[in-house]
Amino acid sequence: MGPVTAGVLQLLALTGALALVHVPLGTYMARVYSAKRHLRAERWIYRGIGADPDTEMTWPAYLRGILGFSAAGVLFLYLLQRLQGVLPGSLGFSSVSPAQSFDTAVSFVTNTNWQSYSGEQTMGHVVQTAGLAVQNFVSAAVGMAVAVALVRGFARSRTGELGNFWADLVRGTLRILVPIAALAAVVLVACGAIQNFSGIHEVGQFTGGSKQWNGGAVASQEAIKELGTNGGGYFNANSAHPFENPTPFTNLLEIFLILVIPFSLTRTFGVLVGSVKQGYAILATMATIWLGFAALMMWTEFAHHGPALQAAGGAMEGKEVRFGIGGSSIFAVSTTLTSTGAVDSFHSSFTGLGGGITLLGMMLGEIAPGGVGSGLYGMLIMAVIAVFIAGLMVGRTPEYLGKKIGAREMKLAAAYILITPALVLVLTAASMALPTPPHSMLNPGAHGFSEVLYAFTSASNNNGSAFAGLNANTDWFNTMTGLAMLFGRFLPMVFVLALAGSLAGQTPVPATAGTLRTEKPLFAGLLVGAILIITGLTYFPALALGPLAEGLA
């Protein structure tokens, strides 16, 4: 069997596994978010918070909960890093600088996990497990909560109520993320990922002498890093590091963990709006884009264009032998089509077009299947826009799932899709126009421009991966990527929740013969087209200056 066949079979195996799991997991998640009863542990937590989990919230109240919780998260994580130098259990590592602490705190709270630091030399046990890994759980739970609130907006009528944020946050963490992560972490350890608190210790070497190696709670963090589409590696090399991702099997498992909740949430959506077929249309749209991107990526990486890769005889720069080109390509596509940003191979050394595909994946808004929660709400916004476009074509007031898409709804959806490109393009342009930021580029020419474009695309879309040659640990990049992550995470959430509130207040319109059937393949096709055209029109000039110029040279 050749490597191409093996790569395709791995893609098919993943598809099969996801197809099997998404129905039970999606249905389970729907039950979690609509359950009436609380677990005992949950009741303790609600008492600690001082919140009544059964109080329904309007969208501004729901948003306030998210912002309060996230602000507390940023503050806590910032202080934890600033105080690391005096905290016990920190290997004697010094405190992190203010700019880097800010960047990292924002990065993990916004589910981005952009890292301007190298984990093994910067973060001790306490910051990694009690700071960074905690945000891996809760930032994911926040994303899922917002998605569920939007789905409730579609499902409910004549009410302003979207559910209770504290209940959604705690249930998502306790009943969904923790059990799956714990199971996955144990499997990762069985395959060779490390899980200890032995700090920095000497390990003997073949040639004599010894080297100092980091121990750490790696597997437990790795599991939630993928499952919560976070992506912040324990080590600098992220999931390319053998202690994070030891075997070809763990590589597939990690890709599966990245994709499983985002794909399954389409089922949750279908169940909650009372039509699983609506969920299938969204799933089909996501799967089409994911499979298409994976096929394109394998094609360009196996073809290995580019002078250095041609000289080497294969695109193995930045890739591990055990994963090969197939496994690395599937990982790269899955991590950038979601908001993960973990890497098992280094995108900067991919072919010019391969690097472009990772960029384009993020530019789509990370909706195929997207981050946990953020993928579903991003895709539903695109569905609203596709319905609107279809409505324009036939001259009817557009409606989706029985809700009218009027002027207010369209303004909110349009604001959602404009905010991220605005952040990416303005900050990239500013970085190129200013005298010092370009000094951070490792590679010259078109690829150097791609490094900067990638940084802001990644930060604004809350991905977190990088063309990692860029020296991002400067005041400019720490501050600007920090702001891009904050605005790129929370402004879209404001629009989503406002939209949810507006939809929940409507009286549903009955479907007629003229209603666009949004559960049909035709609509999925229209949705794929709308996504590609809108993204293409927005980003083509920037892509032409970077990856296209490199790839077609």
Partner: protein
């Protein structure tokens, strides 16, 4: 104004209490429980899959090492590997890739020099290596800089040199490589590979027995 200030304080307070409760669960209990299970059931793996030889630890089977003499099988280049620049009371290896682009002149030079060295080192009397024989993994740096494996093609290419340097028959070294070649998991997951540390430990044994 005071009203909105107290409101903000109340929401922040609730957020902080929620964070602390969830930190206790996901930042303390969860890692400790996983560590407990890991240390109990998978003690070796949880502590880094270390290999012993002659009663001493020779490294981790998962972490590639650099610096083998030409008597031994050579690993992949690791031009992206770094040294720690902060907390320098320790000497830490910082994992990583070169991040050089496919059209980078620096990378092109690294690849060409590596290829020339592989051809020169492995061409021994009676066995001339052609540049076209050199596989891609032999001349490129991995993502982590710690890749413990090389491709079977790169291992085979080194067999003649290793045999000559250790004064072993070529067939015996070939057999060693075959024994240490792992196929794809279930026939399709990942790529065939050879673990360099395990192979070199076996080679050392074989050379010592002779």
């Amino acid at each position: 104004m005071t009203n909105s200030l107290t409101n903000t304080a109340r929401v922040l307070g609730a957020g902080l209490r929620a964070l602390l409760a969830l930190t206790l669960l996901t930042g303390v209990l969860y890692p400790l429980v996983v560590t407990g299970i890991a240390q109990g059931l998978f003690h070796d793996q949880a502590n880094g899959s270390e290999i012993e030889a002659d009663g001493k630890v020779a490294g981790s089977s998962l972490i590639g090492q650099q610096g083998y003499s030409l008597r031994y099988f050579q690993p992949r280049p690791a031009n992206g590997l770094g040294q720690n620049s902060v907390n320098t009371r320790y000497e830490l290896t910082v994992s990583g890739a070169t991040n050089l682009a496919a059209d980078s002149k620096v990378l092109l030079r690294q690849v060409e020099e590596a290829k020339a060295a592989v051809v020169k080192d492995n061409s021994v009397p009676g066995y001339a290596v052609k540049p076209s024989q050199v596989p891609a993994d032999a001349v490129t740096s991995s993502g982590s800089g710690l890749d413990p494996h090389i491709s079977p093609a790169y291992a085979e290419l080194q067999v003649h040199r290793v045999a000559v340097k250790n004064d072993l028959p070529v067939r015996a070294v070939e057999k060693l490589v075959e024994e240490h070649t792992e196929g794809r998991t279930l026939g399709f997951i990942g790529e065939p590979r050879v673990n360099v540390l395990r192979l070199n430990l076996a080679l050392k044994d074989l050379a010592a027995k002779k």
